[in-house]
Amino acid sequence: MKQYIIRRLLISAIILAGVSVALYALIRLMPANYIDSIMRGNPMITPERINDMKELYGLNDGIFEGYFKWVAKAITGDFGNSFISGKPVIDDIASKMWISFWIAFIAMVLQVLIAVPLGVIAATKQYSATDYSVTVVSLMGISLPGFFFAITLQLIFAIYLQWLPLQGMVTARNHQFMNQFQQMMDILLHMILPMTVLVMTSIGGLMRYSRTNMLEVLNADYIRTARAKGLSENTVIYKHAFRNTMIPLVTILGGSLPGLFAGAMITETIFAIPGLGRAGLNAITLGDIPYIMAYNMFLAVLTLLGTLIADVTYAVVDPRVRLS
């Protein structure tokens, strides 16, 4: 197992190197040049000054030169300073990722609490009205365009009904004058709509997955044996069958854990949540090279970590699986 993990990590390093080359080349081809965009329309700036600035920001280096400079620093853990904020990119990401993480984490918990029981119930009553409604609801969830759903929710609940705030994390005007409880409620109120979007658009997959799994388990021989022994239907389903459906579920959830830090680009932008995703989109439009590089490498690491965790937990939960 130890050997397996070490080998996987080594392979991951090679993959990351490949990803970083592709990313750097693409980013340097981008037209949005940070210096040009901030200097545009400023009559006091001379071309020499712009050139100096570009030199300073490393935009005059060729792609190869720039890449090797970047790699040499990145290996030591220095990803440079963000062009936009001027602070080290790592600190920027570290501070923003927790906002994205907690939102995504709570959304995932809600998702599991809703999707797994519904999927299991649908499977035990296959082809019943319940089963059909669960199927339809989950397929509808998968089919929802997230951005459209988000805007529609904003329109209904924030603009027409005015029950919930439109955007942001806190009420800017008076958040600081609230006591701790009120502050928490304030954040909670702001999170209802984005959370609804995140849960609704991703709940379908999990629901379908737990249903299919439960169906497979229910058709297994040991379930027939359990019934033949005369166990009650509840014991059969919730003790024998359910525990076995948990195996792939735990794997999937474990694997998606790192991804929670990534941030939801579109949802965060629409709801103006200052998370990693919104910052990433902003960086791409402005051409903040250090930030885009670090952000995308961070996402790549999360993906690799996710698959590794999924594979390892699979072996841990299911003793029949051997890693080689």
Partner: protein
């Protein structure tokens, strides 16, 4: 007719009857799948929606009498006829540029559906070839291809597509043509799932007896892979492709919504919703963006209904 002839005749009748009975009983696997598929109400609903959507998008424009990029002018008010409410002339009103929304929805549908099909085709081509090679040869070829799959897989999808979108913009390509680049990019980044599935299936299929037989009869390797192994994976491929179509329509819509996919004046369902970035449109002119969103939702839902129905129909383990 004497006794003997009668008997012969009777026997022939019996034989014919038996033959008919037999014919009734023999159902090809394809028919079985079709039967199971058609029994599923949701997949029928999906098919009906998809057929009407195709008619709407591909035949519809011939009947509206307008083109997608035609700007209407209000002579009485001496200004562009923008944000006209739905009326007999413009069934779904006009948008902020004075263009007929109904016509744009149809053309947008053409583009969304075409993008879906082209991207899925690209994905299938790359996925089947690379997955097939990796699965059949194993060893070094497999390791090489799978590492490549890992690299593509770890490239963050949305950021990279946005970056490429920005690059393509700079190239000053005709706005109608940059859709093709978009399709290619989506296809090149999206095939890994198919490759993995094909590889996994072929790894188990190649150990079976019929593959030993193909080797014994001396068939060429490409024939063995593409004639004998891939057809066995086709059911799963059909399901993945159908579900993938919906997913790509969603991706394209999201990209166009962010302003990176299909560009104005070419209409797409996604960039029609883009109009809501102006708050007053969001509130006042619902008819400019809600229909596009609903069309995306309904179309993707239909693809998912059909894909789900196909999966159930193909799966011999599913009891009915």
């Amino acid at each position: 007719m004497n006794e003997k002839e009668k008997k012969v005749q009777e026997q022939e009748d019996l034989g014919a009857q038996a033959l008919e009975l037999n014919l009734e009983k023999v159902i090809t696997p394809g028919q079985l799948v079709l039967k199971r598929f058609l029994r599923n109400k949701l997949s029928i609903i999906g098919i009906v929606i998809l057929v009407s959507m195709f008619l709407f998008a591909f035949i519809g424009p011939f009947f509206t009498g307008y083109t997608a990029e035609e700007v209407f002018y209000d002579i009485a008010a001496d200004e562009i006829a923008m944000y006209l409410r739905p009326s007999a002339i413009h069934w779904m009103g006009t948008d902020g540029n004075g263009m007929d929304i109904m016509t744009r929805l149809m053309h947008g549908g053409r583009i969304s559906l075409t993008i879906g099909f082209v991207v899925v085709t690209v994905e299938l081509l790359i996925g089947i070839i690379l997955g097939g090679l990796a699965g059949y040869y194993g060893g070094f070829v497999d390791a090489l291809i799978m590492r490549f799959v890992d690299i593509i897989n770890s490239i963050p999808f949305l950021p990279v597509v946005l970056i490429i979108g920005a690059i393509v913009d700079e190239l000053n390509i005709d706005k109608t043509k940059n859709i093709y680049i978009l399709m290619l990019v989506l296809g090149l980044l999206g095939w890994t799932g198919i490759a993995r599935m094909v590889r996994g299936q072929i790894l188990s299929l190649r150990e079976q007896e019929f593959m030993v037989a193909t080797e014994a009869t001396g068939l060429s390797i490409s024939r063995r892979i593409f004639r004998h192994l891939i057809p066995n994976v086709i059911p799963q491929l059909i399901v993945i492709a159908t579900l993938g179509l919906g997913g790509i329509i969603l991706t394209e819509a999201a990209l166009s919504f962010l302003g990176f996919g299909v560009r104005y004046p070419v209409p797409s369902w996604g960039n029609m919703i883009n109009a809501v970035n102006e708050p007053f449109i969001l509130k006042t002119y619902l008819f400019t963006w809600v229909p596009a969103g609903l069309l995306i939702f309904i179309t993707v839902l239909a693809f998912n209904f059909v894909g789900d129905g196909l999966r159930d129909a193909f799966d011999p383990k599913m009891k009915r």
